[in-house]
């Protein structure tokens, strides 16, 4: 069974291929309908049978819109004959009335060139042509990509003051059929105004403006003038707007048509910078007259909402005070109100925190906390004082919080002590970033850290250290050199040595009396150092008394006396005498 089926299908396929080769290729073009209104789509079909072909190229007819819709393929077997066909569908139409001749369309099928007969499309006006012309006018409209508006949310205000932040509403309108991508938030175009507190996410809505629907984006914020005078308020927004291509209008499906499609809308992207129409806003300088001494730039309407002042104080001890101010105005540059009476307090910059009350951060409340030091003791009524400029009343106002009675203990701080306390307190803050200011003068400070590694420093340090070490060495040498006992001993040693030399000389000259005299001097000098007596005063009696009668020293003195005073006629025994002298010298303890 399987073999039979396989044989059958092989034969059928071979037959189909053979039959296909026998059928001639054919091209048939149909246009339905041949009359359409302006902007409507007609369907153009190209049916190619007997072969396969690529998508035909449509002839270029001026003002005729042609758009390829798709391709259908079919294979049919009728009485064993297989036929293949492909149908290419196009949408054609025009935005202008007239008769359009579609020149013959040529298609190549398997090397065979087929040509369809020419087609004629009549486009008539059914009253929409005028509307299309209007759309062309819209295309020429400079605001077709969007409109921007800026308006004060307090329309009764016709002018603002320097430093005042005026609340504004910024709106951008984009066409409903546009696709929009914002490239920037609203920003001032000139240098006359600055923009504050713009909300990051704009509100979105659909609104009708001049009879046309728009998609609108709304921001809230505040503007403030940078200089006095009447200057235009110019804000811009950058966006990429994609709008339908006016040069390639779309065709709508024909009413009652069994073909569904019109042409697709093609978009074109444009980078646009929307700018509002100029509105002039006079900016007035803050008056100098009546400006309080503690005015710090607050412009708006403010009031004290809450305060926290400790009831008991000690002079010189810092304590934290806090207050909250509510209202509307330029909270951003508002500084902490002072404690009053001012002469009673010394205070230091602290912290603040703003809580917005509306989307533009124009109204809200701000909490200040800082440290203060009481200078004088006693019972005092204290309060916070804030001076600001009220633009509605066009004058400066100074408001005071509720008073609070505080008890301050301790001795009054003298001015010097106040300065000391000030020096010990946190360093005053110099600017908005909290950094300390530039130094006014150039103090070099100490030497650099690399000094220790420099050769000249090492050389100098080494010389100084060496010279320092020389001092004790010199002192030791000097003391040693000038010591009388040492010098006496040295002299004694020299005397002994001289006497010994003389004795040796007398041995050589065979002069026994002189020998005994020199040898005696040497021995007497050595004994004198031990006994601390005069050398020449030492006699045999002294030696016998101190050293004993059997001492070599006594024997030497006895022999020396014998030879000095009566034994000169005897034969000298030089070797014996020298040994005796040596033994006597060695017997003296050193």
């Amino acid at each position: 069974m399987v073999a039979l089926d396989s044989t059958f299908f092989r034969g059928a396929i071979a037959g189909c291929l053979l039959a296909q080769g026998l059928v001639a290729a054919e091209l048939r073009a149909t246009l339905e309908p041949q009359r359409v209104a302006v902007g409507e789509a007609a369907n153009l079909s190209l049916r190619i049978s007997g072969g396969d072909a690529d998508t035909p190229t449509m002839p270029d007819v001026p003002n005729l819109i042609v758009q390829f819709q798709g391709k259908n393929q079919s294979i049919s077997i009728i009485n064993g004959v297989t036929s293949r066909s492909a149908t290419f569908s196009f949408v054609v139409g025009s935005q202008k009335t007239g008769e359009y001749l579609i020149t013959p369309i040529t298609v190549s099928v398997g090397g065979q060139v087929l040509q369809a007969p020419p087609l004629k499309l009549t486009v008539f006006d059914d009253g929409t042509a005028k509307a299309n012309d209007q759309s062309k006018d819209v295309a020429d409209d400079p605001n077709r990509l969007g409109i921007m508006q800026v308006e004060l949310t307090t329309p009764e205000r016709q002018e603002i003051y320097l430093g005042e932040i005026a609340p504004v509403r910024i709106r951008a309108f984009f066409p409903m059929d546009a696709q929009v991508r914002l490239e920037s938030a609203p920003q001032p175009a000139g240098g006359s105004f600055t923009l504050h507190n713009i909300n990051e996410q704009p509100q979105q809505s659909i609104e009708t403006k001049d009879g046309k629907p728009y998609r609108s984006l709304t921001w809230f914020g505040g503007i403030s003038g940078t200089k006095s005078g009447t200057e235009p308020v110019q804000l811009t927004i950058k966006a990429v707007v994609a709008v339908p291509d006016a040069t390639k209008p779309a065709l709508r499906p024909r009413i009652g048509s069994r073909f569904p499609g019109g042409t697709r809308v093609s978009y074109v992207e444009e980078n646009v910078t929307l700018q509002n129409q100029d509105i002039s806003l006079p900016v007035k300088p803050l008056p100098i007259e009546g400006r309080p001494a503690n005015f710090s730039g607050a412009v708006g309407e403010f009031s004290f909402d809450a305060l926290d002042i400790p009831a008991t104080w000690n002079t010189g001890e810092p304590q934290r005070v806090a207050l909250r101010i509510k209202g509307s105005g330029n909270f951003a540059i508002m500084k902490a109100p002072e404690l009053s009476p001012a002469e009673l307090w010394k205070w230091y910059p602290g912290q603040d925190q703003f809580t917005p009350g509306d989307i533009a951060s124009f109204s809200g409340s701000k909490v200040f906390q800082y440290n203060a030091i009481a200078r004088r003791n006693g019972e005092h009524d204290v309060a916070f004082a804030l001076s600001y400029f009220d633009p509605k009343q066009a004058k400066y106002l100074t408001i005071h919080s509720d008073t609070k009675r505080v008890s301050i203990q301790g001795e009054a701080i003298k001015e010097d002590e106040a300065k000391v306390a000030e020096a010990a307190a946190p360093t005053p803050i110099a600017d908005s970033q909290g950094t300390m200011p530039l130094r006014e003068s150039n103090h070099r400070g100490s030497v650099s850290a690399g000094l220790a590694g420099r050769v000249d420093f090492i050389l100098l340090g080494g010389i100084v250290a060496f010279a320092s070490a020389l001092a004790p060495t010199f002192a030791w040498w000097r003391q040693r050199h000038l010591d009388p006992r040492r010098r006496a001993n040295q002299l004694r040693q020299q005397t002994i040595a001289a006497a010994m030399r003389d004795a040796e000389r007398h041995v050589r000259t065979q002069d026994a009396a002189s020998y005994w005299q020199s040898a005696r001097i040497a021995l007497q000098t050595a004994l004198a150092a031990q006994w601390r007596v005069q050398a020449h005063a030492i006699s045999l009696h002294d030696v016998m008394h101190r050293c004993g009668s059997d001492s070599p020293v006594t024997a030497f003195f006895r022999e020396a006396d014998r030879w000095s005073y009566g034994a000169a006629s005897q034969q000298p025994a030089w070797d014996t005498w020298r040994v005796l002298h040596q033994q006597a010298l060695e017997a003296i303890p050193t």
């Binding site: 360093t427 950094t435 530039l438 100490s446 030497v447 850290a449 690399g450």
Partner: protein, 244 residues
């Protein structure tokens, strides 16, 4: 005599030019012309050497220019010369808090707090002063009478203690000469001294590190925060202690 007069005049002129440049730089900074101020301050440092005030003002200018790395470097150099500079310490703390940099001290751990009262240069000068005092007292002790010699011996004892203490502190703080600041952001420590080596950790501008050794165009550094080690290109960091 003529040479002496000429020398004095030259010194006076140099001092005058120096002061004028500092004033010019300060005026430019006050006008918000930070680039000009930075140029002037850098010129002063180049021509006249280190100055704590110039480093401080330079740091403030760089801080205004949002150049965190160079601002930290300048403040650290100011503090290296004068650790008691409250303004530089204050600004550095603000800068580090803003840039989320760790609050590090260049003083090594384990040293008593009084070590931080003086810079390493000041400790070095103290050491030298102690040596000179020792020299004077020692020689005076050699040639004076006994009563004065006792005073000299006390001075000698004090000088020796001072010299040993200052030398010990100087040696302990010798690491400051290896300390450096990473200048530009987006830099990473690398595993090896090659530009295409794997990254170990990224280091923000203004981070402190210790240079341990160098090879080619790279330094092997240890980050003071976290103790990470790795190689970093030389051009992306600068030593706090300037080399001449």
């Amino acid at each position: 005599m003529r040479r002496l007069i000429l020398g004095c005049v030259s010194l006076f002129l140099i001092a005058t030019v120096h002061a004028a440049s500092f004033e010019d730089a300060r005026a430019a900074a006050k006008n918000g012309d930070w680039n000009t101020a930075i140029h002037h301050y850098e010129t002063i440092l180049k021509e006249h050497g280190d100055s704590a005030s110039v480093h401080y003002n330079l740091g403030l200018c760089y801080q205004q220019q949002a150049d965190t790395g160079r601002a930290v470097l300048a403040y650290e150099r100011c503090l290296a010369m004068n650790p008691r500079a409250a303004d530089a310490r204050h600004n550095l703390a603000i800068l580090r808090e803003k840039e989320s940099l760790p609050m590090l001290d260049t003083l090594p751990e384990g040293l008593p707090p009084f070590v931080a009262w003086f810079s390493r240069g000041e400790w070095t000068m103290l050491f030298l002063t102690a040596l000179v005092l020792l020299l004077a007292a020692s020689w005076m002790a050699v040639f004076t009478s006994t009563s004065i010699r006792r005073v000299c011996m006390a001075v000698i004892f004090f000088s020796i203690i001072l010299a040993i203490a200052s030398a010990w502190v100087g040696i302990k703080r010798s690491g400051v000469t290896s300390m450096a600041v990473i200048l530009s952001s987006g830099q990473s420590l690398r595993l090896s001294p090659f530009a295409n080596a794997d990254e170990v950790i990224s280091c923000p501008a203004g981070s402190l590190c210790m240079i341990e050794w160098e090879q080619g165009n790279f330094f092997y550094v240890r980050m003071l925060s976290g103790n990470s080690r790795g190689w970093l290109t030389k051009q992306h960091l600068e030593r706090i202690a300037r080399r001449r």
